[in-house]
Each structure stands twice: as C-alpha cells, then as structure tokens.
C-alpha cells in the first residue's frame, strides 16, 4: 500500500528558465524564493515517485485521436525535446520513470471509469523541464508523467478532472509499487499563447483561482472555475489549470497553501504555486 505524501500545483511557463533576467527584480526574487521553497517542501517529503499531471501542449497527443489523459510507461525519460532546447535554456537531463506503477495506473483506473491512454515515448517540454529544474535539480526522484489534454476541444470538464484526481489517488493508495508519492500538477495560471493577449496576464482571475485553492471547497471550485472563465482569462493556456483541478481531486478537495504568486507579464504568464499538506505519516515525521 502506498501513501500520497503531498500534492503540489505550480506554473511551468518557459520564461522562468528562458528569460527570467527580463523579469523585474521583485518578480524574480519572489518566484525564485517560492520555487526554492516548493523544492524544499517536496524533497522533505522524501517521495519515492512523483506522479505528474500537465498539459501536453499538443506535442504528443495527436490531434486526430486526442485522449484526455495519457500515462508515460517508460523506465527512463530524457528532456527536453530537441525543438524546445534553445527556448527553455535548461541542460539536458535524464530522470527515471516507473513502468510498473504506470501500467498499474492504466489497469486500475479503467474499472473506476477513468481511461488512461499510455505510451513510452512522450516528449517533454516546459511541462516537466521547468518544474523539475527547480524542484528536483538532481533529477533523483522517478517521474510518472501524465500528459493531459487542456487545449484541444472538447476539453475534459472540471468535474471530470476532479474525479480523475480522486481516481488516481484511490489507485495510488492501493498500489504496492508506489511507496511515498507526490502528485504534481503543472501549468497555468492565466496566459494566452497564440491569442491577442499573449503579452497580458489576468491577475484578478489568478487571485480568485488561488483563493479557491486556498478555500478547499471542491463544489464551489467546480462551480466557479469553469472552462469558460479560464478561457476568458487567456484563451490558449489558462485551461492548463484543469491539471490543478486534478491535483485538488487527488488531495481530496482539502485547502491548499499558496506558496507564491506573481502576475509576471514579463514571462507572459501568471506564475505561482500551491501545496497540499496531506497530514500523513510523512507530515508527522517532518
């Protein structure tokens, strides 16, 4: 049996590694401090594996057969994909996968009504490259990546994403292979890659969304954090917050703690992160 030691959700926008020197001093200092804190929080939990969930950015999931969720079953992952190297400005890295756990997720989620597509050849872009750079710079925690569809219509509804998080947590708790797990959602907050507001951030939306995470009222979140509102806050990218809804479901809907937030126009994205302390054996020991 396994334990969900913690759940985290954080932005992954490429400016954080690609052109952070162009941010204001306040943005840079606040974000570097926040991401460092999230890294300490995560490493203190001593996870055996990170189960990640993030937007695929239409990089792997084909447009002619887009699944809602796709688990990576490889035993080893390399990043970033060549096309993203100069953009992301991170060193090439290798991180272990966890094939047995990934296959378990596919098998055990199905009877619970959650389809997980699977493949062993996912390419990584900012979705994992940016968070791992800050959170596990030694790439020493195995990763089971779940790429999800946040931007190819029709999108999975927030309710479906929340339920997916519940199912994942349920399956993980019953997985002998898992050990101590951190569930990590990446993406968001407001941004509009490909739209007319590419250079804008919707700070009011972001703060309202973060307040919902902090409040920990799942029903209210599903009522208010609609796809329509996300799109209104930035069409091309804000729906990455659906991954945060998965995380909220995995955390059982409990309140999150906001670690940092910056409406970083310089990075073309509302940037920040929240953590859910799960209050298990891990937290008690820490």
């Amino acid at each position: 049996m396994a334990e969900i030691a913690g759940v985290i959700a954080l932005s992954h926008a490429p400016g954080l590694t690609g052109w952070l020197d162009r941010a204001s001093d306040a943005e840079r200092d606040n974000l570097l401090a926040g991401y460092a804190e999230m890294g300490r929080w995560l490493r203190a939990l001593k996870p055996d594996v990170i189960v990640g969930i993030a937007n695929d950015h239409v990089l792997n999931l084909p447009l002619d057969n887009t699944p809602d969720f796709c688990v990576g079953t490889a035993g080893l992952w390399r990043g970033p994909a060549p096309w993203f190297r100069d953009w992301l400005n991170v060193a090439d890295y290798i991180v272990a996968g966890h094939a047995a756990l990934a296959r378990r997720l596919v098998r055990d989620a199905a009877p619970r009504g959650l389809r997980l597509a699977f493949r062993d050849d996912l390419l990584f872009d900012d979705n994992w490259s940016v968070p791992l750079h800050f959170l596990t710079p030694d790439y020493d925690v195995p990763l089971v990546p779940i790429h999800m569809n946040c931007v190819v219509p029709p999108l999975p509804t927030p309710a479906r994403c929340y339920r997916a998080g519940e199912v994942l947590a349920d399956v993980l708790r019953g997985a002998d292979e898992a050990g101590r797990v951190v569930v990590m959602a990446t993406g968001g907050l407001s941004h509009d890659p490909g739209g007319p507001r590419y250079f804008q951030v919707d700070e009011a939306f972001d703060r309202a969304f973060l307040a919902l995470m902090e409040e920990g009222d799942a029903e209210k979140t599903l009522r208010e954090a609609t796809v329509e509102r996300m799109i209104a806050a930035g069409d091309g990218g804000t729906t990455e917050l659906l991954a945060w809804i998965v995380a909220l479901g995995a955390a059982g809907g409990r309140p999150a703690r906001i670690v940092c937030y910056e409406p970083a126009q310089s990075l073309r994205c509302g940037m920040g992160g929240v953590v859910w302390d799960m209050g298990g054996a891990a937290a008690r020991a820490a």
Binding site: A81, G194, P196, F199, G236
Partner: protein
C-alpha cells in the same frame, strides 16, 4: 479565434504538430517548404499562409493557437524569447491590436 475554433482535420495542423517532434522533418521543411507542404496535403491557402509565416491567416484557417508562436519560431530563433525578442515582436505585429502603432508588446 481561439482553441474552440480549431479545425483538427486541417492538414497544416498535422504538419506543424509533426515538425516539432521530428527534427529530420523540420530540417527537410526548412530546406524545402513547398515540397513538405505538398507531402502533407496542405491547401493553397494553407501553403501561402505558412510559407509567409502569416500567423493571422493560419489562425483564420483553423490552425491551433498554441502553434502560432511556434510557427514564428520556425522562422526566427526561439532562444531568449523575451517580450522584446525578434520572434515576440513578429508575433505581436500580427496578432496584437495596436502593436503596429507602437502601443503593443511591452
């Protein structure tokens, strides 16, 4: 135009999707844009828009919004992609209203 207006069946979407995954195809594309577009079955309108990096026209045809900044990066460097980079300014000049008048970007 936004993610809800994408035409998933558009040949240009399949080509741009693949260009970012397959570096051999990308090299071939950069050396022979017309040949590769022909191979992927793009319409005349798609070919014109992609050859000219006319991302506003590509958007109108149903190309996925997420691909649009990446199309700019096909033709301009993607490195150090800050808001005053050449790629960002090319994007802004086509997609951000008022930018051409010196008001957009930042």
């Amino acid at each position: 135009m936004g993610i809800m207006d994408v035409d998933l069946t558009l040949p240009a979407n399949r080509l741009i999707f693949t260009l970012r995954r397959d570096m051999a195809l990308l090299q071939r594309f950069l050396g022979d844009i017309d040949g590769v577009m022909e191979e992927y079955g793009l319409s005349a309108a798609e070919r014109r828009a992609l050859r000219d990096a006319d991302i506003r026209a590509l958007a109108g045809l149903g190309v996925h919004p997420y691909f649009l900044p990446q199309v700019v990066r096909l033709f301009h460097s993607g490195a150090y992609n800050h808001n005053d980079s050449e790629a960002a300014r090319v994007y802004a000049s086509q997609m951000v209203e008022g930018y051409a008048d010196g008001k957009g970007g930042n």
